[in-house]
Symmetry: C2
Subunit: 233 residues, 2 copies
Amino acid sequence: MANTITFVSLGPGEPELITLKGLKTLKEADIIYCPSTTLKNTKVSSRALDILLALDIDQAKVQLFDVPMSKDRTLALASYAAVSKLIHQAYLEGKNVAVTAEGDAGFYSSSHYIIDNLKRDGVVVDKIPGVPAFISAGALAHIHIAMQEEELHVVPGVITTSDLVDKIEKHRAVVIMKASQSAEDIKQAIHKAPQSTFHYFENVGLDTEYYTTDTEEIINRKFPYFSLLIIKS
Amino acid sequence: MANTITFVSLGPGEPELITLKGLKTLKEADIIYCPSTTLKNTKVSSRALDILLALDIDQAKVQLFDVPMSKDRTLALASYAAVSKLIHQAYLEGKNVAVTAEGDAGFYSSSHYIIDNLKRDGVVVDKIPGVPAFISAGALAHIHIAMQEEELHVVPGVITTSDLVDKIEKHRAVVIMKASQSAEDIKQAIHKAPQSTFHYFENVGLDTEYYTTDTEEIINRKFPYFSLLIIKS
């Protein structure tokens, strides 16, 4: 079997929402690179590793790489550069390398930093697609995220109140991925578009999962990092 | 075990891109409703059934329901109404009922016709999310569908040349789901936005899968029903 580098999408967080193909690739991999963060109490946390362990993947072949969470992205980019070299090295040694990505590896994923580094070094990687968080949020809320004739706008995070209200008035379905980046603007938009439904989610797929459409609840809430909205007019 | 109705997303077409949870639900179901179409030569075709068989699901518990493909949707709606009654009946008989959906059951899925019928009858269903076709197309093309700061617009099918060029000029990533509905307008946009990359796909996940970024190829092509584009500026 030839050496490979495969980015495996883990899906939204619930371990059983990985694909059969994704799980098979993890099982067959010689080494699995997996991002982690170091919390203030110096505890290492990795949502991806939690998923791997729930799926009975052998921890001995997992290599964590720490991605610093500070606003200044210099340290994170240095971390991606360092792990890209390790991944390339393992590949050159003939290994089947897997790299995990939460959600889907090609959809607002920081995987692209590593993929682009490898591409510059002449290595093309494979990706196994996965279920994005917003798709899972729609199932949790029992809604149709987008219907047959409806246009959907996915906003990564930063949006102004007027841009958001404009989308709603044009009857676009709107997904806001990192709602914490625009919490105040979104709360203003709730006042200006009272006829719309704001589906608000935190920590989709985790034990701390939370969902509401109660606008007063949403307005009083401090949006955490993993918060997203689906807005239907 | 209580009776249930679960819409199981099958993913983009490649059988192994179903989730573990989706497969488990299909295996545990007493009966599985699955859409089919009757072709002109009176042959019954069902992409969903093909996926189930590849996954070793017992065909004896599969019930096909025919969805007429004509532009007049009256017959299709009548078919959805009829199967909604059958699903409700099986549920009342205490069965665990699964209903299949290609891609994701909440994302531009005709599942909503059945779900809304059941809701009117007071029955709330569950959905198991899946990988949408455009997510799989991105993996096939080795691209980042959307990057960290990029807004993504998903267009179900109908779009004018000027609207599309406007999105491209604003640096939106654009997905067009049923490109055959606007083939001529898309081809015009290719001439007007030569700096952009048009990723064109047919039949993602099937043996007849096709992908190109060659604009001359795209312009000379007759877009079939299952064609989609991802446009990156």
